[in-house]
């Protein structure tokens, strides 16, 4: 990859990060109240804590100071969610979990969407419409309907003695495969993700199948799927990297609805509790995920498409 492209991407990364952090800091500052308000004797402690927690500093100073520390790996200390705990410690475990769910959902969307496209490309299909309809629904609506539907159905089966009470019912508070799997599936399907991947893959497949190099390969008696797969990588990578931000947003909602202890649910709490360092730290992580996914997408496309390499090389 050319140095110019890398430099460009890094610049975009830095600007995106600063923009996201600045926006979150501004929104939290504009929101009424502060973390001292959560304390029962907050007004008595305000003079001491305002100074300890640097709440008396002007916003631009806090912004610059935060970035200065973040560049040295110091994301600050939680003020209200886990008082006194370094932000990195608070979010490390949940961030890893969220990343796993996110990546799994992304892979599921790609595989599932591609398979559906393969099954129906260029032909009328009932599941095209079904996927489009199901995928339109926002993630929070899908989650609410799924959870309540499963609860009601299982409750009626248990009450009638048809099945014994399953271990996961009613989606209990401890971590479980069922809830996690449900979150991943809903993330893969919701907010247009699956429909977009399926549509993009179908368009690409129709073009690829009608292309000259496929006809030539068929004439030579070669297997077609390596050529199809190779040329499918580009369009799928484009849609995957463009969906990253939507996945991150969807995950925040799903973690709240399904009581999953990931980075998204902590972001929610941090905003409500005006825990500035924690909210900013999570913003840094999530913005980094989105930017890195774009960088990765560019890298993959360049690796698979020599025409792009030639263009970039010029």
């Amino acid at each position: 990859m050319s140095l110019r492209l890398v430099a460009h991407r890094l610049l975009v990364f830095a600007v995106t990060l600063m923009g996201a952090v600045g926006l979150v800091l501004l929104l939290l500052w504009l929101a009424p109240g502060d973390p001292i308000d959560l304390l029962p004797n907050g007004e008595e402690l305000r003079p001491v804590l305002t100074q300890q927690w640097e709440l008396d500093r002007p916003l631009p100073v806090r912004f610059v100071s935060y970035f200065g520390r973040a560049l040295h790996g110091d994301l600050g200390t939680s003020l209200a969610y886990r008082p006194g705990t370094p932000v990195a410690d608070v979010i490390a475990g949940p961030a890893m979990r969220s990343m796993v769910w996110l990546l799994t959902a992304l892979v599921l969307t790609m595989v599932w969407g591609t398979w559906l496209a393969w099954a129906s490309a260029g032909r009328p299909s009932w599941h095209r419409k079904l996927v489009q309809v199901a995928s339109i629904a926002p993630v929070f609506l899908l989650a609410h309907v799924s959870v309540n539907g499963i609860d009601v159905l299982t409750l009626s089966l248990v009450d009638r003695g048809i099945i014994p009470r399953p271990g996961w019912f009613p989606l209990p508070s401890e971590p479980g495969v069922f809830r996690t799997a449900l979150a991943i599936v809903l993330l893969a399907v919701g907010s247009g993700a699956l429909a977009e991947v399926r549509a993009e893959a179908e368009n690409a497949l129709v073009k690829i199948r009608g292309s000259g190099y496929i006809a030539a390969a068929r004439a030579r008696g070669e297997r077609l799927w390596p050529h199809v797969a190779h040329n499918l990588v580009g369009p799928l990578t484009t849609v995957a990297s463009s969906r990253a931000a939507f996945f991150v947003g969807g995950l925040v909602i799903l973690e709240k609805v399904l009581l999953l202890n990931g980075i998204g649910s902590i972001l929610w709490q941090a905003a409500v509790m005006r825990d500035y360092p924690l909210a900013l730290g999570i913003t840094v992580v999530l913005a980094s995920i989105v930017c890195l996914s774009r960088l990765l997408g560019d890298t993959v496309r360049l690796a698979f498409d020599p025409r792009l390499r030639a263009q970039v090389g010029r």
Partner: protein, 506 residues
Amino acid sequence: MRRILSILALTSLLLGMSTVAWAIPLRYAEDRAPAIVNPLFTTTMSEARLDELVFDGLYTDDMELRSTPALVDTAEVAEDRMSTTLHLKPDVQWHDGEPFTADDVVFTIQAMQNPATASTEAGRVGWIKNAVKVDDHTVHLDFKRPEYAPEDKLHFKILPAHEFDSTTVKRSNAFRNKPVGTGPFQVVSFNDDNSITMQRNPNYFDPVKQDEIVMREVADKNYQAKLIIYQSIEALVRVLPRDLAALQADRKVEMYPYQTNSWWYIGFNNDGARLHDERVREALRDMVDVEALLKPIGTGEVVTGPFVPSSPFYNHDVPEQKVDIDKATSLLTAAGYYYDGRQWTKNGKPLTFRLAAPETLETAQDVVINLQAQFRKQGITVQPEFLGVAEWKQRVWRDHDFDLILSQWSFDRSEDIYEQFHSHGARNFVGYSNRKVDALLDEARNAVDPQKKKEALRQAHTLIAADVPMVFLWTLDSYAAMSVRVKQVVVHPFYFFTWAKDWYVY
């Protein structure tokens, strides 16, 4: 002979059962996991309840809610009631095996009083002038003014001095990761799902029956009742009124009613242009059908003043407020308002109020909707707003940016209403002011004789009710739900787990 052997065997079994620890965990749900396990920085009830399991105070409540020694063995109060000498229980150990001594008591008081610690519990020791170690198991406390019952104020939790470098305790101190107390249970792990596992303290000075307790975070209140019905948890601290019927009907669940010192109210902004007029406040009060507001949300008792009916300070001579539309009409007319058949107006402007309610107050939405309907029927428009915690503090507490508020006050054993109703009270954001009430509240705070305190507060109740700074609504009946497998349950109305050492899951 056979009968004697049977009796002996049964007796042994019963004795054994009383000392055996029960290995089935007792799981209970909280809306939010404790942010920090350190009694110096307690901000929420979930933290206070966990502190009850892990730490001890010098005194605690007995089942009649009277103060009884916990870490104290015996105590003497000076004749002038300006000091006390506490003899601590010997042979008490911290969870890490270190001995509990007078140093820990002195340290805790000094840490709480240290402004640099910024303790949320500093107010609990503001009345102590001096804490001095006499010997390893004796502490002498001097008070700032005479105290009739100092043991009632010595319930705050004691911390281990050996875990800290100085009396300036920071929230970031490593203690937060490994809290050490003397309580019946010790924290074993903070888990990835925000649950906290606690195990029986084998060195506790009283027998503890239950082996393990697990606090589970269940943020969705809708789920909490389901979890206990389907046996994913064994205890629910407070049941929502809408879940009462389902849980009462379930044979696997037992309900435990308890009364708290909390009451709901509709507060007026007494400094506001319109509500500064007492006639307007009285008219609004006379329009409110309190019983009709209470019925859809649960059961309880209507209150006429700033105490619950079971309180010794409650003045039962103050009559309950009844709806009186004719009187309300006369009052508003006298205040210069005109009723055009649909709406009350003044100078062409309709009478409209903004009503703020905290979004965290359960069932507030139902009350607000019904209240809105009641006022609309009488030609008054109410515009509700539901505020988050931080916004509530900003707008209501600091800016006084409201006309009406719907909220509740909760009090501990002291039922000290000074901050809410004294004109210098830090929580008197409705802007109430009455010099006679100020004098009575000052007298109650400084009273050494409990009878004089009772008389002063009962008088204050009468005056406050007459001034109508707010419409007093009700105290709600509270219910805890426990699995029938949990035995020997007695629930503390405020701290819930005060007597949990006797509970066990069978």
